[in-house]
């Protein structure tokens, strides 16, 4: 099997680093992709579940643009809706009826939603959610989960990061995931100051196994917070529409007050949404939060087409089944080579880790070998399935996995 090299990616990176801090920054930074020479940095084309890098290497993509690609790159129905709307009007001086139509659609689809508010990125709406919670309760403190991620606003960054002040964390309380006693203790100590809790529907940190909510966890969390007069915010930016089209809370059987969506909502077109219960509609209307591109109509049209297609395909179940085939295949392949592969999180966006070591080095080596052969896997972040992945893609991926295990054993010796 051919292994890839990345001369053009490297050449582009050398140009990039002269004019862009880090060369490529944020979650696209090559830094956590270990070993870095196994990974491409720049892409030229993408179609369906595949992309081609600037060296012409073809990859079956299991990162899906880190979530936004859910129906496949260049999906005809979504692109057509976007292009049609763009031809009519995208940026404009007044709002588009498409915004209203999309809000109506979300209110119909999502049991928690009595209204919807739109922005461009996930952090826009997680910040909006926190402001709404503070406005509604008149309280300062926000409870969140250690290792959780809700965007890069200073209050949400881990302490110590550059540009973040100690004061930014003054009203943020972090508790462990699935720890009701910790929440109970926090409510006992800070109850009257707690505006709300923000957490992802299940715990999907980087560099660590993902964790589903324990039985009854969310129901108790919502009960405890509501009893305390606090707001429950689900950050469904990463998982939204991959687990359930009514919001991931429906999969786990609970109802929050606010849900933040982005990533998969428009199959790659920039959009985010905050939806909420009727009791918070007035409070949401009082919070001023806006952005230059938040009313561009093309993304609203793309989102409606994307969500209709996800409904038609029963997207979450399809992706779950594809994820099951992929992860079952990898677990079995790993076992045939003497490795134990641990699968965690949800099957439509699984996190996989070779459990034969505790420092991730085997995992990094194996993901690198897979990527060199055309299955784009990162070792630090959960992967994503899309409805565009096919059984043929998965079979091809499993062949690559097999080759990668062989290459790894040759390189590192059997573990």
């Amino acid at each position: 099997m051919k292994t890839y090299t990345y001369e053009n990616s490297t050449a582009w990176f050398k140009r990039a680093v002269k004019v862009i801090p880090c060369g490529i920054y944020g979650h696209f930074s090559p830094a956590p992709c270990v070993p870095v020479d196994a990974y491409p940095f720049f892409s030229e084309q993408a179609r369906g579940a595949r992309f081609w890098d600037v060296d012409g290497n073809e990859f079956i993509d299991y990162m899906c643009a880190y979530g936004p690609m859910v129906l496949g790159y260049g999906h005809p129905a979504v692109d057509e809706a976007y292009l049609k709307q763009r031809a009519e009007s995208d940026a404009n001086s007044i709002a588009s009826p498409r915004m209203v139509e999309l809000a109506e659609m979300l209110v119909d689809m999502i049991p928690t939603a009595d209204w919807a508010f739109f922005a461009r990125n996930g952090a826009d709406v997680t910040n909006m959610a926190v402001m709404v919670a503070r406005s509604a309760t008149g309280r300062k403190k926000i409870v969140t989960v250690k290792g959780g991620y809700h965007g890069t606003a200073p209050w949400m960054q881990a302490p110590g990061h550059h540009g973040v002040m100690e004061d930014d964390h003054q009203h943020v309380i972090r508790i462990p995931w699935n720890d009701l006693k910790a929440l109970e203790a926090v409510i006992a100590e800070h109850g009257k100051d707690i505006a709300g809790l923000i957490a992802t529907p299940y715990h999907h940190p980087v560099f660590a196994d993902n964790e589903l909510p324990a039985e009854g966890y969310w129901q108790q969390v919502t009960d405890m917070l509501h009893k305390n007069g606090s707001i429950v915010i689900v950050d469904d930016v990463r998982a939204g529409f991959r687990l359930h089209l009514g919001g991931s809370c429906e999969r786990y059987g609970f109802r929050p007050d606010l849900i933040a969506f982005s990533k998969a909502i428009a199959n790659g077109y920039a959009l985010s949404a905050l939806v909420g219960v009727d009791a918070l509609r007035v409070n949401a209307s009082k919070v001023f939060h806006t952005g230059s591109f938040w009313f561009c109509a093309g993304s609203f049209a793309a989102a409606m087409a994307c969500l209709k297609e996800l409904q038609r395909l029963d997207g979450p179940n399809l992706m779950r089944e594809l994820g099951r085939k992929l992860t079952d295949g990898i677990v079995s392949c790993a076992a045939s080579h003497g490795y134990t592969m641990k699968v965690s999180g949800e099957l439509s966006m699984p996190y996989l880790r070779i459990a034969n070591d505790d420092n991730m080095m085997l995992q990094q080596a194996w993901c690198g070998e897979c990527t060199r052969r055309g299955a784009f896997f990162t070792s630090h972040h959960n992967w994503f399935l899309s409805t565009a992945h096919t059984e043929e893609d998965i079979n091809r991926t499993l062949d690559i996995c097999d080759e990668a295990f062989k290459a790894m054993k040759e390189g590192l010796g059997a573990q």
Partner: protein, 254 residues
């Protein structure tokens, strides 16, 4: 208060401590201390203390030293000790009055030599021999400073607490210098020179030039990683957090 205490701990336990290593790296220093047989203790009132012992051409550094010494330099406060390092306040000699001349001349020449290697100019960083010594000393300073920072710096303390337990091995190819930091998962660090056990993460520099450029802020670290000049393996959060901790050094030492 904490600022002065931490700065004093850094000045002694991370910077002055390099006198242990300097004679091995720099023949000029080795020649200077070759015949010395003296111990010097630095003592702060109700605060930190440390002891340097020069004997048989070697220097050893001891933290929290209480052992008798030939010379005892006393400081009324951590700020006073820092004043000595900034050449703004003299120490109070409690013992070894006859050796004051030695301190002013010979010992001062050695500390100046250390300062020379730790404060590079662009021209000096063009000299391979200087780069060799600077890289080794800067790396040692960094790993020892990290240990102090997670104890007292408010930001580093938080970062340290968030860092998983495990050994970070830092290595410069092809033949060093190397250093390690062992995180205990509760915010504490033990560190040292060389290699130590099975790492949870490794940070590998392609060569001394890359390491030196990075240590002296002349290289975009993310860019260096992407181009393979700096390689990460294992539990990358340990490396990320170490960077955040070390980024606190300039708040105390210029």
């Amino acid at each position: 208060m904490i600022y002065d205490t931490l700065k004093a701990r850094l000045n002694l336990n991370a910077v002055l401590r390099n006198l242990e290593e300097l004679p091995d790296l720099d023949p000029e220093t080795a020649a200077m201390i070759k015949a010395w047989d003296i111990s010097i203790r630095f003592r702060v009132l109700r605060g930190i203390s440390a002891r340097l012992q020069f004997k048989d051409g070697r220097c050893t550094y001891e933290e929290n030293a209480k052992e008798a010494s030939d010379v005892v330099l006393f400081f009324l406060s951590h700020k006073h000790l820092n004043g000595m390092f900034d050449e703004k306040a003299p120490p109070i000699p409690l013992k070894g009055f006859k050796r004051l001349g030695f301190l002013k001349d010979e010992f001062s020449r050695v500390t100046k030599r250390l300062e020379y290697f730790l404060k590079p100019t662009p021209e000096l960083l063009e000299e391979p021999e200087y780069v060799r010594v600077n890289t080794a000393l800067t790396l040692s300073t960094a790993v020892h400073a990290a240990r102090e920072l997670v104890l007292l710096d408010p930001v580093a303390k938080q970062v340290g607490r968030q860092t998983p337990s495990g050994l970070l091995q830092i290595q410069v190819l092809p033949d060093g210098p190397n250093a390690w930091m062992q995180y205990d998962g509760k915010g504490g660090i033990v560190s040292g020179r060389g290699k130590n056990g099975t790492p949870a993460a490794t940070l590998t520099f392609r060569d001394r030039g890359v390491a030196c450029a990075l240590f002296n802020g002349k290289l975009d670290d993310f860019g260096a990683v992407a181009l393979g000049d700096v390689k990460l393996r294992g539990l990358v959060p340990i490396i990320d957090n170490t960077n955040l901790i070390l980024d606190r050094i300039p708040a105390y030492l210029q």
